[in-house]
């Protein structure tokens, strides 16, 4: 089976599980809603301040939501040891990772599409004129988060204290994504909306580098 088809099969399986249970999307949607409120209580920003801090809030909220969600993507294979079955399938090991990466990416993207307007309302910042570009920046960053997060979730699935460990591994590696994402978002929400090309290339470059590394190292991650 080709890599694309087997990746598609794993993705379909992940989506089917999610559509039956809604475990991940429900928890993440609620988490982001709560964080949107908590940030407002913590900073009680004025309109000017909101414009300045909103990019950071959006990215941090999605980062933390992502780390919570990514934890489960390999742990829930352990209950019935279904990962063993996936490994036995005559597919490339990278297909398992890529299928899960795409699934996590889709779940986070859904959350973002729902929550960017909600953030916009809560913080009185009009995002409609730049919505398309904003989503592009968010998607590029989220893809990086999904790639590295899924790989680290596979790594830590059998470690002790894995719930605590994943964010500790993930957040420092994601620092370039956070910087580039927040800067690009700030430029979009600023007085003269536009995106610096360097931020887009940083986000895109991060995605390309880590997808390649994942593809090269997937054999080691999925074995045993």
């Amino acid at each position: 089976m080709s890599l694309t088809r087997s990746t598609g099969a794993v993705l379909a399986k992940e989506l089917k599980i999610e559509l039956r249970t809604h475990d991940l999307t429900n928890t993440v949607l609620f988490f982001v809603l709560m964080v949107a409120g908590l940030f407002s209580f913590a900073f009680s920003p004025t309109v000017q301040e909101s414009r300045r801090i909103l990019p950071g809030l959006i990215w941090l909220a999605f980062f933390f939501a992502g780390t919570l969600m990514l934890q489960l993507c390999f742990v829930r294979e352990q209950v019935n040891d279904t990962l063993a079955a996936l490994r036995l399938a005559p597919i490339d090991p990278s297909a398992i990772l890529f299928g899960k990466i795409l699934a996590n990416f889709l779940f986070l993207v859904v959350t973002e599409i729902v929550f960017v307007p909600i953030f916009s309302v809560f913080y009185n910042v009009n995002v409609w004129p730049v919505m398309g570009q904003l989503l592009l920046v968010l998607f590029l960053g989220t893809f990086g988060l999904s790639v590295v997060g899924t790989v680290f979730s596979a790594m830590t699935a059998q470690a002790r204290m894995r719930e605590l460990l994943l964010p500790l591994l993930l957040l420092p590696v994601l620092a370039p994504v956070l910087i580039a994402g927040v800067e690009a978002t700030s430029e979009l929400l600023g007085a003269h909306p536009g995106i610096g090309r360097e931020w887009l290339s940083m986000l895109g470059g991060f995605d390309v580098i880590y997808v390649t590394a994942t593809w090269l190292l997937s054999g080691f991650l999925v074995e045993e």
Binding site: M161, I209, Y210, A213
Partner: protein, 262 residues
Amino acid sequence: MGPAGDGQRQQIDGTVQEMEMTTKSKQRVWGLAWVATAILLALAGYAIFFVAPRELTMGNIQRIFYVHVATAWCGFIAFFISFFGCIGYLASRQMEWDWLAVATAEVGLMFTTVVLITGPVWAKPVWGVWWVWDARLTTAFILEMLYIAYLLLRKMVTEPGRRAMISAVFGIFAFLDVPLCYFSIRWWRTLHPAPVIGGGPGSGINPVMWHVFLFGLAGFLALTVILVRDRYRMEALRQKISELAADLEEREESLESKEVTR
């Protein structure tokens, strides 16, 4: 005890003897290396304070440069070797590569910590603030976070083969992050002084300062080598101990099962 058990015992006795012999002769050499490094570092300390000239604008605080830059280079070299240790392990599945990776990661982390402490001490009088989030400082900070995460990950996975593999993958992912971090923050903001050594036209330092710096660098490089070697050896001994313990357990179990059958 059957003949197979005796053979095993002889083999273990052999390993233990071999270890003792090699340690004795090797330890002497490495003991000398330790003494030489200590003397080198003491002399470098003397040179930094009494031989190097006083810098015109910054004054005595500039002397921290000799330690700061030398440890930064050593730390970075150590992380670089650790990266190759990770690749080496994945390519060969030999535990030696894993030991090298962890030894260099720990030593590199120690040097980065020195860099992160000496930096602010220098920055406060010169820049007026302890810390700024500029490209080099932030990269050093994230480097520190990444390798703390690497060591934490190793602590949380007990089975040696699995730990070696997982941490090798993480080590590669972490190291790939360093240039990305550096450039993302360089585009963001930069305040750190441009490199004075090999930094293009207009850079360069007084020849005496340069020699003192090289002297200090030699001392810290020697320290890097012996620390890595000691840490590597510790990892090797740990492995031997766990092998012996596993063997002991196996023998006890076989004895017990024999008694049960009797």
